[in-house]
Symmetry: D2
Subunit: 338 residues, 4 copies
């Protein structure tokens, strides 16, 4: 159930509705909107009677929400969520570009990548300081030293930093350095971490699990939002299928499906998605044509020396060419690279 | 092994190479090209020594082909195959649009669809007279009566007819009426039908099986080509994955992968691919942005009354709007809707 | 809708019900049972009113059938279908064993395999004369010569012959030689072949398509039964998943699910299912423990020289050991190898 | 590389090898065996020369390990790992049975379940105090109160407690109460938690991720072992495929594949695997026939009132009947329920 308050509703009227919900043993979630406040209700087993609320003062309407995800659904909030990251924007009309190396490997590598992607027009710098690796014997990331290099790159370039958290104990540190905190695909249903991300004040980039359905993914986002953090973007990065010619199967079908179901921004990661450098530009173009609000692309000054994911990282000149292509595609659908 | 003849090679020199191959107990496949003739060799167990052929007159070079698919590979024929269907073209710089109803249901329905898609700019009319249906109790198609209606629609509109064959016994009849013969996804590895399609003189649209890898799909195309028909186009129509929010998972990753591996034209079917009318345009745009040479789209004058696939068919006005969008995307990547 | 006639119903009463169904524009399917006749009705869009039929003489009850598959469902026929193949039995309490080489390669090879599997206790001889192969350049089977060898092996051993048909034109010939006609996994939704199999007088072994759901598989069986052939067995042979450590993923979950949904016998093919010789016995044991009515196992006198599937074929001594194991498992669940 | 010491090697000789490995900049992992000590080496990029070690005193042989997983591989340790949990044993000849409710819901529910499964012959009690749930609005488990109830049930019945940890912060508490700490499927690649499990002194039950390959799963186990905890059991609980007739696809193929690749015990979870109560016994039987070392089964005194997974939980009488069946199957393959 969602209670939509009238535009003219007073804070006291909102509070009265909230109290009423609590009195019924349910949980209210007040969601401030541009025009008016909405209040989501969760915790009910069966359907609720709209008349319980429609008689209260200031209430516009009480809507039954049919989806198991509530707060992230378009039913509850029809307008797009726009996340403002210190001037760089995720969601809405503009299209954002995030780029950088898979892992932060060294000061020289990171700064070279950062300046190159900045020059080509990216607004966000990606780079992992904590790396989820299949093998315990592979490079696990530089940790805090990596975060410091990301902060230095931000200072030099003005790029906003997107970086992954893997361990709850590292979260305060990652929040301190990052502008956007990424939750990796393998942790998409790490519910204890999702709850903690609901308590931070930074936007979250929630990658899709390799075998997560779109609905499970939205429920994972719902965890973050229900715990208080409304700034969530969803990142499609390829699902696991029987096909072995590509690293993953980038599921661009998810883009229009998500845009219809949720108000959250949708990001596409063509690098992990297809996993083959030569084909990253085609999938980046396709992602934007499908309606994505942002792309996130791996760029490395010297991919053949990368400690991780070199085979899917673009060189700076390749990234520059990709930026040219995505600008044209964005323009063709009436949008622009921010 | 592939023998590339010099541009100046004479027919007699080509014949001599062919004889030499036969004398070795192997099978030659002469492939005429714009500049020169190439001769594929199959039937060898291990690698062949290029010197066996390079001393013969007129031979430019003898190349080892590393892929299990030979004749359809770009190694063997680097230039794009362009299929000319009586003036409407598949492959090359232009992008073709195929559209029409899932099934031919009636004269009125088909002609309405045909005129509508023609007016909007399609060059090919799709429509099934023989329908593969999961249930024996569902509408199985009009059969020859449907083919006749397709021919009438062609006469009225000039559209080229794309229609499916299911049964080898029907093949001569389908070949008589169709301009392009479609082999459906469930028959992609119907090897006896593939061999027969190698003997016809009409182009073949080979749909990907729902769980076929890209390599298996290319091997299926190889069956047709190895049996003598070089006019094959590959149609991505969605693979089967765990995701249930969409009918299939349209695998656009296949588009750049195929364009690198094969010279055959690549077609994208967003209608079966995602299976949800509202999202067909997004996937059509994405398919073209990814590099497809054509799209094939379901259009029905009255989708809610369709005997099959109504939920994924566009209305004529929706198709007109889609054509506007794909024209813009095609232009953005330096191509044009033919 | 299913009409169950009383045990005492006369043929004339059955005919009257059939006529009534036809008069309603629907299709009757009379299904003779041990005790009484049942008549399936298909072709209705919505539900039918049982009272339309319950007043007719000889009618016991009229049951609504909830599944899209009708004639193969347990709702319609609760007792197991038992297929008697000249004394060797598929279905019911006994467990049948089918074994032999993947392909018929030579007289010597086939007879060696046949005598070996006979000696170890198999009742059915498997062997392909027509082979579906991913590549057009691989061994395609011996054709009619292979069928003749199978017939010779039958004469010598008394084993019943199970062999695959790929091409409708070959069906009369295959029916002549085979005791059980196999339809391969890739042809599971070759609807034109399914319809033809409905018209033959030999039992059909219907392999599951590598990405077919259990319901689609039952619908494929329904095609055969609805076209008149009630002797169908279902063979689980592995589905396609993301896992690459095994050739396919033998889906033993399908066994109890099928036994609940359908009265048809269920066969398990551990050889194609897991595709690794050393692990075939484990999966054969597990298949029987899960409730399968038969297993079909690849046995080759000399697997390392096999023209196809050598890596998953057992040697005769390995097969003998497997027979010992499955006898014990069968006994443990109160059944016996027939 | 694995260094196998002679049975007669002295501790000082082992130390000398360990030092030599460290001096090369690599990491030694001494693995005590029944007969002799083995020392795994990790951290090398390319292959190592066996001669570097074979000249050292007490060294039997130096073996190249071909798999990316080292310490969990059978190459490194051919004998089965047997985990002794206070007298109840996982691995080796005996087959263990774990049973209990999905979630600990109340004292009454848990004790009823515990006494019932104990009476039927189980040695381990399963029950979740921390529950991973797709939706933030569903029952999340009783937390420490649930752990205390598990401890009480252990006191009353002598059953060993298997329970899941989700959050690293809860790990010390879970370790205190549990006899075996379970890591759930969705956390299989939660690498920060895997590392922590390497530091505990309790056995770990590592569930397979729903889209994890067998190799990724073994690498996850390798994380735990490489961080110092050699007591790991692997639990197959169903993978995610396209099939929707079952909750998951229990992949019994994994059982023989794992038994060949690793020395760790293999557990099968038929309850989550197939997810349908009526079919759990068939899959439990099949799991044991395939070679599993244990099964873990959901049992609830009143499944229709369960707060989670009621549809797949057995009643106590159903579990008793299942125990009877699995005893027979175990006996048939020369093993016994412990």
């Amino acid at each position: 159930m969602l209670i939509v308050m009238r535009p003219s509703a007073t804070p006291a009227q909102v509070d009265a509705v909230v109290e009423k919900i609590r009195a019924l043993g349910l949980t209210p979630h007040a969601i401030p909107g541009a025009q008016r406040v909405a209040i989501g209700i969760t915790g009910n087993k069966g359907g609720l009677d709209p008349q319980l609320f429609e008689a209260l003062q200031g209430v516009g309407e009480a809507i039954r929400v049919s989806q198991p995800f509530k707060l992230v659904s378009r039913e509850v909030k029809p307008e797009d969520t726009v996340i403002d990251v210190g001037g760089a924007v995720l969601g809405g009309r503009a299209i954002a570009v995030m780029a950088g190396p898979c892992s932060v490997e060294s000061r020289e590598q990171l700064l070279a990548a950062a300046h190159a992607v900045k020059a080509a027009g990216a607004r966000f710098l990606r780079g992992g300081a904590f790396k989820p690796r299949t093998s315990p014997y592979e490079f696990q990331g530089l940790g805090e030293a990596g975060l410091k290099l990301l902060a230095e790159a931000r200072e030099q370039t003005g790029l906003k930093v997107v970086t992954e958290v893997m361990d709850p104990d590292d979260l305060p540190m990652v929040v301190e350095y990052a502008d956007v905190v990424q939750l990796g695909a393998r942790n998409m249903q790490n519910f204890s971490l999702l709850k903690r991300l609901g308590a931070i004040k930074k936007p979250v980039l929630l990658k899709r699990g390799p075998s997560a359905t779109i609905r499970e993914w939205l429920m994972a986002a719902e965890y973050v939002v229900a715990h208080g953090n409304y700034q969530v973007a969803l990142c499609e990065r390829g699902i696991r299928t029987f096909e072995t010619a590509t690293r993953n199967t980038l599921d661009l079908n998810a883009v229009p499906v998500l845009k219809a179901l949720t108000h959250l921004p949708v990001v596409v990661d063509p690098s992990h998605g297809i996993g083959i450098r030569a084909h990253v530009p085609a999938m980046a173009r396709a992602g934007i044509a499908a309606g994505a609000d942002a792309i996130i692309v791996e760029v490395h000054p010297c991919p053949e020396k990368a400690l991780s994911d070199g085979q899917q990282s673009l060189t700076p000149p390749e990234f520059e060419e990709l930026m040219r292509q995505v600008r044209v595609i964005a323009g063709a659908i009436g949008r622009a690279i921010a």
